[in-house]
Amino acid sequence: MAENIIIELKNVSKHFDQTYAVDNFNLYVKKGEFITFLGPSGCGKTTTLRMIAGFELPTEGQILLNGEDITLLPPYKRPVNTVFQKYALFPHLDVYNNVAFGLKLKRVPEGSKMRRLTTKEIDKKVKNALKIVDLEEYETRDISTLSGGQQQRIAIARAIVNEPEILLLDEPLGALDLKMRKDMQLELKEMHKKLGITFIYVTHDQEEALTLSDTVVVMKDGMIQQIGTPEDIYNEPKNAFVANFIGESNIYSGTVTGDKKVRFINHTFDCVDEFPKNEKVDVVIRPEDVHITKEGEGMASGKIVSKIFKGIHYEYIMMVGRNELVIVDTRNLEVNKTYGFDIEPDGIHIMKKELTANIYNDAYIDKNNRVVISESAFECDITSLVPGSTLDEDGYVLGPDGVRYDFTDADVIATIGLDKIEILDDDEAGIVRGEIVSIIYKGDHYQLTIRTGEDEDFVLDTEYTYDENDLVGLSVKAEDIKLTLKGEAKKYAKK
C-alpha cells in the first residue's frame, strides 16, 4: 500500500502573521485518485493546494511526493501542474504557444544527457492535448477571442500536456455558468479516467465535490473536518458543520434517552448509533429520509406550512411543534394540512455535540473587577470566585472568614452558555463586536458563530435570522458568566 501513495502531507501548517490558514493537515493521496478539498471560502483549501504546487511554503510539516521530501522544492522543479481559477493563460501567446509553453522548457533524458524536445515532438503532444480538450482547430487563435469555457479547456490542455504526476485544479469551473459547469464536470471525470493522473481538486461547491471525487476532504478554519468517500460524507457526517455544508439537512439538538433511542423535536425515535444515556447530541436527518404518511399514522405528525416545486420532487416544510422539518417527496400534498411521518432508524444520524458552552481559557480579571475575554471587558459577578463572599466598599472581595482578596490580573476560565449571549443588531451597542462566520439551523433556532477582531469565537443560539458576514454586537449579563479561578484563591489574599 505504501508504494501506492503518491503524495503525503504530514502535520502541515501554514500561518500568515498570527492566523492559521492551515492547521496540522495530515493526508495521503493514492496514485490515480480523484480527491477534492471542499469547504467554505477561507477554510484553507486553496492554501493547501498552493503548498502542494510549491507557491507557498508550509510553516511547519512536510510534503512527500513518492516518498521524497519536496517541502522546499520550488514550483518549477515539481512534477505537478496547476489549472488556475481564472485560467492564468498568457495573453500575448496564441493557443498553440500557450499549450507548448511547458514543453519548450522541458528537458528529457537521452542516454546520460538531458535534451530539449524537438519541434516535432512538441507539435505532436500539443495537438494531442488540444484533441483531448476538443479544441483541435484553435491552434492559431488569440486567447482573448476565446470564450470562458474554451479558455478553461486551454488551461487544462496546457497543464496535462506536460504529463504531470498530479494535476491540481483550483476551483477551475468557478467562472463558468451552470450548464457549462455540468458539462465540464463530466468531461473532467472522463479525462481523469482516460489519463490516469492523480487529480487534486479544490471547490466550495458540495455538489461538484460529490459528483467528481473518489475521496472528499471537508475543511473548515484550516482544519480537516472529515475525509471519506462522497457516500460516507453525505450519509455519515461527522459533525453538524459537515452535515450542514453537504446537502440539505435537518439538524436538531437531542438527548439520548436509552439504548438506541434518541429524543428530539419532542418525540422519541429509534436510531442505530449507540451513545451513553442522557448524552446531549446533534441529530441530522436528510430531507429524503422522512416519509410522509396519512394523518394519525406514523411516529409523529406535523402541519405542512410550505411547498416548493423543484422539478423531480416537492420540498415541504412541516412544523412539528415549534420545530421546522424539511422533507422532500414526489407526491403532491396539501399545504396547511396535518400529516404523519416516519423516520427509519438508519435515517437518523447522531453526532456528539461539539459545543455545549463557550469556554475561554485565557480570560483574566481587570482592576475594575470585570472579566476580559478577547480584549473586551465584561461585567461579571466576581464574588462567585470565593463562596459566600461579598464585595467591600473598596471593590475587594471580602471572604466569609474576613479575608480580603484582590483579583486584579487573576487568570480565570470563563464559561458562557450558548443561550446566555445576547445578540444586538447595532454592532457598536454590545460589549464586543464581531462578524457572523457560520449559521446552522437547528429546527427551531439558529446556532451562530461570531468571530471577533481578535479571532475569538462566540457561539450562541438565537431564534432570529441573520446573514453570514453580518456585523453584530454581543453582550452577556454579569450573572451568566461562570468564572473558575486558575490556581488557588489564597494567592490573591491581601495581607
Binding site: A53, G54, F55, P74, P75, Y76, V80, N81, T82, F84, Q85, K86, Y87, A88, L89, F90, P91, H92, F101, G102, L105, K106, R158, A159, N162
Partner: protein, 266 residues
C-alpha cells in the same frame, strides 16, 4: 426658451476652450512663424528666410549642446526604464503592507520639488567627494525619471492577471525566465511609455542638470539659460531651435498615439 439658453451656454463652453488653447499655443506659434524670418526681434517681419536655421546648424556650440541633451536623455531613459520596471514588478509582487509603503515611497519624488532633489544630490556628491561629471549628471536624471517609469508600468501590472507568473513557474520556467517570457511582454506598453516619458522629462530638465553637471558640459537648457542671462535677450537662432524641438516632441507624440491606438484595436 430653454433651448436658447442651452445653446448660449454651449457656445460659452466652446469659446472658453478655444481661448484656453489659443493662450497655450500662441507663444509657440509665434516663435515658429518668426523662425522663418531674419529679424532681430519678434514683431517685425523681414520676409521669409531660412537664415536662422542655417545659422542654427552652423553654430557648433548649439549643436554640441543638442547632441549632449539627447545623449543624456537616451542613456538616462534606458537606465531608469530598466531599473524602474524591475522596481515596479518588485513592488507589485511584494506583501500587502510593504507594497503600500513602497508605493508611497516611490511617489514622493514625483510630488517633491525638483530643487530639493537637485540640492540633496549635490550635497551627496560633495559629501562623497565625487567631482561632477557625466556620471553624476546621468545619476541625477535617472533619479528624476525613475518614479515616472514606476508610475507608468504599475497600471499595466494591475491589469495583468497576477497568476500568470505562478503559471509560468508551474510549467517549469525559472523565476527569471518567467519574468522575461511572461511578465515583460505583458507590461511592454507601459515600459515603452515610461521610456518616452523619461526622455521628454530629461530633455527639458534644467534644475537637476544645472546642479549635477560638469560646468563645461552644456545641454540645451543650460545653454539657453546661459546666453539669455548673459545677453539679456533671446538670440534669434533660438527661435529656430525651439521650432525643431517642438517638431521632435510632435513626432514622439504621434508615435505614441499611433502605438496606443493600435493596442486598443487589439
Amino acid at each position: 426658451m430653454s433651448k436658447n439658453k442651452f445653446s448660449l451656454s454651449d457656445f460659452l463652453c466652446k469659446f472658453y476652450v478655444y481661448i484656453l488653447l489659443f493662450v497655450m499655443y500662441a507663444p509657440i506659434l509665434l516663435l515658429i512663424v518668426y523662425s522663418f524670418t531674419d529679424t532681430k526681434i519678434i514683431g517685425k517681419w523681414g520676409g521669409f528666410s531660412l537664415h536662422l536655421y542655417k545659422a542654427l546648424f552652423r553654430d557648433k556650440e548649439i549643436m554640441q549642446a543638442f547632441a549632449n541633451t539627447f545623449l543624456v536623455a537616451v542613456s538616462s531613459a534606458v537606465v531608469s526604464t530598466i531599473l524602474g520596471t524591475l522596481g515596479a514588478i518588485g513592488i507589485f509582487y511584494s506583501g500587502k503592507r510593504s507594497k503600500a509603503f513602497l508605493e508611497g515611497l516611490s511617489n514622493i519624488p514625483v510630488m517633491n520639488a525638483e530643487i530639493v532633489t537637485a540640492l540633496s544630490l549635490t550635497i551627496l556628491f560633495v559629501f562623497c567627494g565625487i567631482t561632477f561629471n557625466f556620471t553624476t549628471l546621468l545619476i541625477g536624471h535617472v533619479v528624476l525619471t525613475i518614479p515616472f517609469v514606476v508610475l507608468s508600468v504599475r497600471p499595466k501590472l494591475m491589469q495583468m492577471d497576477p497568476n500568470i507568473y505562478e503559471a509560468a513557474l508551474d510549467l517549469g520556467a525559472t523565476p527569471s525566465k518567467a519574468l522575461r517570457e511572461v511578465i515583460v511582454p505583458e507590461i511592454l506598453p507601459g515600459v515603452f511609455s515610461g521610456f518616452i516619458l523619461s526622455i521628454t522629462l530629461s530633455l527639458d530638465d534644467y534644475i537637476i542638470t544645472a546642479f549635477t553637471r560638469d560646468t563645461a558640459f552644456q545641454t540645451l537648457s543650460t545653454y539657453v539659460y546661459g546666453v539669455t542671462s548673459k545677453k539679456g535677450t533671446l538670440p534669434p537662432s533660438l527661435r529656430a531651435l525651439t521650432t525643431v524641438i517642438t517638431l521632435i516632441a510632435l513626432v514622439i507624440l504621434i508615435i505614441v498615439n499611433i502605438k496606443s491606438s493600435k493596442e486598443k484595436e487589439k
